[in-house]
């Protein structure tokens, strides 16, 4: 691209009042750029000016105005590089002249006067100019062949709903169900929870109608008694091998070595060649992940709706509740079977069961519910209580709960069941279930009745939860180097979730969308809704891949990581650290890119010690150049030169938080310069080294929270950055630099008010350490 540059400085929103625009213009003009100023760049005149410039051939625009997070449509010029210099939020609003005074008439030509705000503005302008020189317009990555078929794993209520939704939107769908018949758990019930207003009565299961509906869609293919042996490739171009359950085939996915096999007898890590040999041995008879099944079926995206199995308590796990001791203590799933078979009878002797106690929490001190429980287990207890009342006019159903969760309109169901004179509800702690003649006696403490109670019961039902299929098996069997399943499910109580608040349906694998009880214990209605979400996500994926753009969370991003393989040392770090398993490596360790799996976070770029991974508009060099463009004053310039601190700011939460802080007129230290990064995971330590060797006094990273309740948009980025920053601390020590000069902060977007103290605290630490001894070299 033959760049023709133009620099445009806006004087609106207080910029003109605070800054010396003439001096700022000179900064760019001295570098040889044409500069134009405008009272309000976003106004009619301003936009017309920019349009005229673009029409006149300018294709690289540096707009020194407001935050890139606002007015992006106004300042969008297709085919042009547009770089925004955030003067308004990061300079003017956050650094009032009352605190950092402008030079008086007398001081104007005083060389010793330090105008912090003006220096900051000119630094940011210089950084932008340095950046635009180093970046290019991206070109889209297009697959050679794109397959738009959607694979739905699981033929229960969720899978069928997802298939129907995708089929209605015009997509071809294949359902793979491991059982010989469709329907899953939803087909085994007497009744199901309501799905329609007024949500008061349980109803005949909708599953059969849904199965029937499948027949009217010629674009849905159903494979029963079928499981996925492996899914190879990438979104838009998956190659799927199916097999019969239990079969052993060559295209069964290979598994990574378990940790204990990666070490020798003395516990030392094995060499890579030995490791590879062991890996091959471990997966003998299975084709490598990079070998594609020539008979495999092509799919573009996958909806994982593999569902759940009822939790089966361990032997003696609930001995105090009589489970496993008497057959009359059953799980809710077992009770449903009894109810589906006819009138409710006592399992031990077949006597009519007219008194049934539903226990929602195992008790024994805590108030936690049974494992894998949720609102659905509360609702199921209500539903099953009604079975007792339907079967017997003098039947009595008791529900003893610690939590009665009936969210949204399901509250109506609770109210309706509660209204039945023979249903008795109380919060309470069940202490014991013991045999009582032919029946049972239930003891409960801390009840709403104000005293410990005893209830005679024919059957006791434990509200055990729904175990996701991925707990037992990866199910998706991805032929990915990082392994066949999702990582970190333990963080989500074994559910196949990603980050359920921000990104429902999305998993840690692009193109694979989880729905239904695989994600959380869900009711039929919730599962159907969840299925719609996953189906839409799968479609979004296909249509993004089709246009060569990133799916999420950087939806629409045209860039993708470009590897300069000649210099690759096969260290495998990129393959191992990619949070999304986007890279596979061959036996020598050379990474194989799968651009449509990629989410463009740049974690590979941050990981690469050879710095051979770059994006068209975001590269090691572009950020390094920005860092180097920051003017670091020394004793040559001033008697007491101000400090310079670099802040590498995550674009997802930290950068908007800074804008919000500025909007609220919060201030932070004027010696700090911010560089936005895609994710802290993309921060390459070379940038920190660049800053420190240039004489900057400290560097901090500001990004999302990491750990068990991480908020990183790219799952692992801030965590990896934390590890890298700790490692760089060791390297700094060897250079006689204090490790405290580099730090990392975690912020959530709503913690904008804490940012000034964070920055001030860090600058305070640096002030304590004194200036960087390398300054001026």
């Amino acid at each position: 691209m033959n760049k023709k540059y133009g620099v445009y400085i806006c004087e609106g929103c207080g910029i003109g009042e605070s800054l010396n625009i003439e001096k700022l213009s000179e900064v760019a003009e001295d570098e040889g750029y044409a500069v134009k100023t405008c009272p309000a760049l976003c106004g009619k005149a301003g936009v017309e000016l920019l349009q005229k410039e673009v029409a006149g051939g300018v294709n690289t625009l540096v707009l020194a105005a407001c935050s890139p997070r606002v007015l992006y449509d106004t300042f969008r010029f297709d085919g042009c590089i547009v770089e925004r210099v955030n003067l308004r939020e990061q300079v003017v609003w956050s650094h009032p002249r009352a605190t950092w005074p402008a030079p008086t008439e007398a001081q104007k030509d005083d060389e010793t006067f330090i105008d912090h705000v003006q220096m900051m503005a000119s630094d940011y302008l210089m950084m932008a100019l340095a950046k635009v020189k180093k970046i290019d317009l991206p070109t889209a990555f297009k697959l050679e062949t794109l397959c738009r078929k959607i694979l739905v794993i699981g033929g229960g209520i969720t899978g069928i709903s997802a298939a129907l939704d995708a089929a209605k939107a015009g997509y071809e769908v294949t359902i793979a169900e491991k059982e010989p018949a469709l329907g899953g758990n939803a087909a085994k019930w007497r009744k199901q929870l309501p799905t329609e207003y007024p949500y008061e009565k349980s109803m005949a299961p909708v599953i059969q109608a849904k199965i029937k509906e499948l027949g009217s869609f010629p674009n849905i293919q159903v494979k029963t008694a079928t499981v996925v042996a492996r899914i190879a490739g990438q979104p838009g171009d998956f190659t799927v091998t199916f097999k019969k359950p239990g079969e052993k085939i060559e295209f069964d996915v290979p598994f990574p070595l378990p940790p204990e096999m990666k070490v020798d007898e003395s516990g030392k890590e094995l060499e890579s060649e030995k490791l590879h040999a062991r890996y091959l041995e471990y997966n003998q008879g299975r084709q490598d992940i990079l070998t594609f099944d020539p008979n495999g079926e092509k799919f573009g995206a996958v909806v994982l709706a593999a569902g759940w199995r009822p939790y089966q308590p361990q032997e003696n796990e609930y001995a105090h509740l009589g489970f496993g001791i008497t057959p009359d203590v059953v799980t809710n799933a077992q009770f449903e079977q009894i109810a589906a078979a006819g009138k409710i009878k006592r399992p031990s002797d077949g006597k009519e069961a007219k008194s049934v106690v539903f226990i929602q929490s195992p008790g024994q001190g805590g108030d936690q519910d049974f494992p894998y429980a949720g609102s659905v287990t509360s609702l199921v207890a209500l539903k099953q209580a009604k079975y007792v009342r339907e079967d017997y006019a003098d039947g009595k159903a008791y529900i003893i709960y610690q939590h009665m969760r009936t969210p949204g309109l399901t509250e109506n169901f609770y109210k309706a069941v509660q209204q039945d004179p023979g249903v008795f509800l109380t919060k309470g702690q069940v202490t014991q279930v013991a045999p009582n003649g032919a029946g049972l006696i239930v003891n409960a403490d801390d009840t709403l009745l104000g005293q410990p109670i005893q209830i005679k019961a024919d059957i006791v039902v434990l509200a055990t939860g729904m175990v996701p299929a991925t707990k037992d098996d990866p199910v998706i069997n991805l032929a990915y180097r990082q392994g066949p399943g999702f990582r970190d499910n333990a963080l989500f109580n074994d559910y196949a979730d990603s980050n359920y608040i921000c990104f429902p349906s999305e998993t840690q694998r692009t193109g694979i969308y989880a729905a239904g009880a695989i994600r959380r214990s869900l009711s039929t209605e919730e599962s159907m809704e969840d299925a719609t979400g996953a189906a839409l996500k799968a479609i979004q994926c296909l249509e993004s891949v089709n246009r060569g753009v990133s799916v999420h969370p950087r939806s629409g991003d045209l860039t993708f990581p470009d590897f300069f393989f000649q210099r690759c040392t096969q260290c495998k770090r990129c393959t191992q650290e990619c949070p999304f398993g986007a890279l596979d490596d061959d036996e020598r360790g050379t990474p194989k890119t799968n651009p449509t799996r990629c989410r463009r976070c740049g974690t590979c770029m941050g990981a690469c010690p050879e710095r051979i991974i770059n994006f068209a508009n975001y590269s090691i060099d572009s950020i390094s150049s920005m860092v180097k463009a920051i003017k670091v004053p020394s004793t040559d310039d001033f008697d007491e030169p101000p400090l310079r601190v670099l802040g590498l700011i995550c674009e997802n939460d930290a950068y908007p938080a800074l804008d919000i802080a500025a909007l609220n007129r919060l201030s932070w230290n004027a010696d700090v310069r911010f560089v936005p990064v895609r994710c802290l995971g993309s921060v390459n330590v070379i940038w920190i080294k660049d800053a420190l060797s240039k004489g900057m006094d400290g560097v901090f990273l500001m990004g999302c929270k990491h750990g068990d309740d991480y908020q990183c948009h790219f799952v692992k980025g801030s965590e990896l950055a934390d590890i890298r920053v700790r490692k760089i601390g060791e390297a700094l020590s060897s250079l006689a630099l204090e490790p405290e000069r580099v730090a990392q902060f975690q912020v959530a977007i709503d913690e904008y008010d804490k940012i000034p103290q964070m920055v001030q605290g860090f600058v305070g630490t640096i002030e304590g350490l004194g200036p960087n001894p390398f300054k001026g070299f």
Partner: protein, 387 residues
Amino acid sequence: MAERILVEPDLKFIKDLGILGGDDLKKCYQCATCSVACPISPDNKPFPRKEMIASSWGLKDKVVKSADPWLCHNCGDCSTRCPRKAKPADVLAAIRAQAIVEYSRPRWLAEAVNDPKKLPILIAIPVALFLVVGSITGLLNFKPDLSGGIAHYKFFSTWLVDMHMVPAMLFAVTVLALGLKRFVGDIHQNALAEGKTDQQTIEVAGFVQAVIRVIPTILTHKKFSECTENKDRYIAHFLTFWSFVGLFIVTSVIFLVLYGSYLLPTGPLHGPWAQINPIKWLANISGIALIVGTGMMIKSRLNKPDQKSAYKDWFLIGIAFGLGLTGMLTELTRIAGWAPVTFAMYFLHLICIFFLIAYLPFTKLAHLAYRTAAMVYSEYAGRKFVK
């Protein structure tokens, strides 16, 4: 720590409470807003929240054999504030009605009083008695000699009246006394079991002292004045209460004068009494107060959407309002000189009186005995009901 109880819900009890106006009972989700709103809820026993769950669990003995529901004066603060519209005030009223049924004998009569289908039978009893006994004895004269002006005793002899009313009253008093005896025993047991009292036995002297302490509260309707939501009920109930007191005094005086005057040489003194007689003033004032008081009750019940009015409520208000109305109309039509009309009114009036007296232990009116007993007991037992 209270003892572990075996819970055996009584489904019929829950259904009966529903019929008696407590059909929103099951809506309660135990948030205890009612206990916060209730002016008489003690600090250590959330009232009426406990009553709500006990009755929704069908634990009849816990609520029916307890004094607490009787301490409620149905001010309605709980029902107004209940987020679930479970109407605790109506549930407590239903519990009280159920307690009346429980403690009165014969049981079938108690159930008949609460059953609208049995109303014709209840009416037929006094009508048949009056007609049959009146015809046999000749004390009912459809063609009386009215030459000395209209006098009701000539149509319906006072002997015939008292031949019914005196036994009816004795019957009522006996039924109430027996009921009260069991009731007080039960509420004492309940109070012991739930730790509401430290008195092990009921000691007569202390109990009588408690009666004396409680009476001013009843006479002044002090508890009613604590209500915020249903302040108008204070006036209505106050008027009705005092009209009954007035009418009781009037009836007693007339009764004594009438039967006393048989000893006079001039013979018995029959009504009507002169309008200038203070007793007549009291009678008229009480009669009007009764109509106004019960009229206000009718109006307020019709206007209150968050208060249920069950058959039992209309039954008693109907009798009381009918009593006042027929009484005043009897007088007015007599003055107007419309003999057949005034006799008919008198006949209806007597039916109302019979209803009031004979059915008293079975209707809501029995609250005058049970509530008083409960209040006295609570005072005695140290619940510090009277502040």
